[in-house]
């Protein structure tokens, strides 16, 4: 079935207690803030959240965590300068954490979407994140066996959709969206604009409609002040962090 256009509240009502929810975004770029707000309102709990980070500031994913709805976070980088909500829950023993190298995180979801049962990954060999995992030497190189990560629901943010559900993204806000869309039983995409069928260039569609079940138009997404025209590259009008701190522990 092609995508169905609906309001955020209706769209996220498919999420059930105990579900695994894939949440797009790299920091706030590509984060479906309005869908997460609707999910908080919806009330489903005991969730496992798969996302690159574990929330920034007090909005989006951080707000979902603060509302006590999340049992476990699977991510590559929970600890950031503004991840105080997660940090507090984690230190209080109120949330589980599975840290996955970012490439394994992306590839494990890709595997779920592509029907791959498991794959031998080059990443993490000889590190604590490979402990207890099956490994194998292939052609002289050691690999670790990694399994798919599937979602019951994916919440992603794209830029423009057509009414069928074909999606294009905008710059680095693309990040995990296209992969997560393939890996969940139900994919809900928040977009800035929905255009008529035929308005997107078939050569430039990034996520084909087959991967998108529900579309939610959010004309002024909180996570982005991006212009709404697909080809526009002019400056956004809303203010943005002018000197975001580095989010990794700096070892040097």
């Amino acid at each position: 079935m092609t995508a169905v256009i609906m309001a955020a509240a209706e769209a996220v009502s498919v999420v059930k207690d105990g579900d695994t929810v894939l949440v797009g975004g790299f920091g706030m770029a590509g984060m479906p803030v309005e869908l997460i707000d609707a999910l908080i309102e919806h009330g489903a709990g005991d969730l496992t959240i798969v996302s690159n980070n574990a929330g920034n500031g007090d909005t989006g994913l951080a707000a979902l965590l603060a509302a006590g709805r999340v049992r476990k976070v699977v991510c590559s980088f929970p600890r950031q300068s503004d991840s105080w909500v997660f940090d507090g829950l984690y230190r209080a023993g109120k949330i589980e954490l599975e840290v996955v190298p970012q490439g394994n995180l992306a590839e494990r979801m890709r595997a779920a979407g592509a029907g791959i049962g498991a794959f031998f990954s080059p990443t993490g060999v000889g590190t604590p994140l490979a402990e207890g995992k099956e490994s194998r030497v292939i052609d002289g190189r050691e690999y670790v066996l990694e399994y798919p990560i599937r979602g019951d629901v994916a919440l992603i943010r794209a830029h423009v959709a057509d009414r069928m559900g074909n999606l294009v993204y905008r710059k680095t806000a693309r990040n995990f969206g296209p992969v997560m869309a393939t890996a969940a039983a139900v994919t809900i995409a928040q977009v800035s604009r929905i255009v008529d069928i035929g308005a997107l260039d078939p050569e430039a569609v990034v996520t084909p409609a087959i991967f998108v079940n529900r579309l939610v138009a959010v004309s002024a997404p909180a996570a982005s002040s991006a212009p709404t025209a697909p080809a526009a590259s002019s400056a956004p009008t809303a203010p943005a962090a002018s000197s975001a701190p580095a989010d990794r522990q700096e070892p040097a």
């Binding site: 929970p78 600890r79 954490l97 970012q102 590839e107 710059k171 990794r248």
Partner: protein, 213 residues
């Protein structure tokens, strides 16, 4: 005189071949971009899905949909391309990047890298893309001070911190010397305000010197 961070970044930049595809890690390594020769044709990759990343964005250029791996606003250069995360990491893991530059807590004489965790029991673990970069790039350059704040060397016989990747580091750029790690062991390429003898006595590792030193 030991080198400033800026001078270390310049040293790294000098060794990046023209036209190379390069990923600069978060923090100090990001500054290497400032020292690339204009016209070098070096193309920057950012793990969050872009080749052809430009300098940091300022003022009206700032766009929340266009950031680097450190989530700082950046710009786009002509010839750029965007791709999703699985493609971006396939690019890294598949060995397509010529060079990546990362910081480190420790590097071992066999090129093991430790840069994501001190193993402290109260630390919240977080690895990001470091493990993928470490094993994926054709050459891994590390940029770090040679000694930790407590004076202990960070170029070590064996890493005591949790590993990021095994045998992956090929060059180590520090404030007092630059090292190459290869089959022959650790070679001192250049020193800054310190003699090779002083280096040898302050590090607990075997060193070979380049003939020109």
């Amino acid at each position: 005189m030991s080198l400033s961070r800026e001078e270390m970044a310049a040293n790294v930049a000098r060794d990046i071949p023209d036209g190379a595809y390069v990923n600069l890690g978060i923090g100090q390594p990001t500054t290497v971009a400032d020292y690339l020769r204009p016209g070098s044709g070096v193309i920057l990759h950012t793990e969050n899905g872009m080749l052809g990343m430009g300098p940091p964005a300022t003022g009206h250029e700032i766009d929340p949909d266009l950031t680097n791996a450190g989530k700082q606003p950046v710009t786009e250069l002509p010839g750029a391309s965007y791709f999703h995360h699985a493609d971006s990491f396939a690019m890294m893991r598949g060995g397509h990047l010529d060079v990546c530059v990362m910081g480190a807590f420790q590097v071992s004489v066999t090129g093991d890298l430790a840069n994501w965790s001190t193993g402290a029991p109260d630390a919240i673990p977080a690895v990001g893309g470091a493990m993928d970069l470490a094993i994926g790039a054709k050459q891994v350059f590390v940029m770090m001070t040679l000694f930790a704040k407590d004076g202990r060397p960070k170029l070590v016989p064996e890493c005591t911190y949790p590993l990021t990747g095994r045998g992956c580091v090929s060059r180590v750029y520090t404030d007092v010397a630059t090292f190459a790690i290869g089959a022959e062991g650790v070679r001192v390429v250049e020193t800054f305000g310190i003699s090779v003898e002083e280096l040898i006595s302050s590090l607990c590792i075997p060193l070979v010197s380049s003939p020109e030193i």
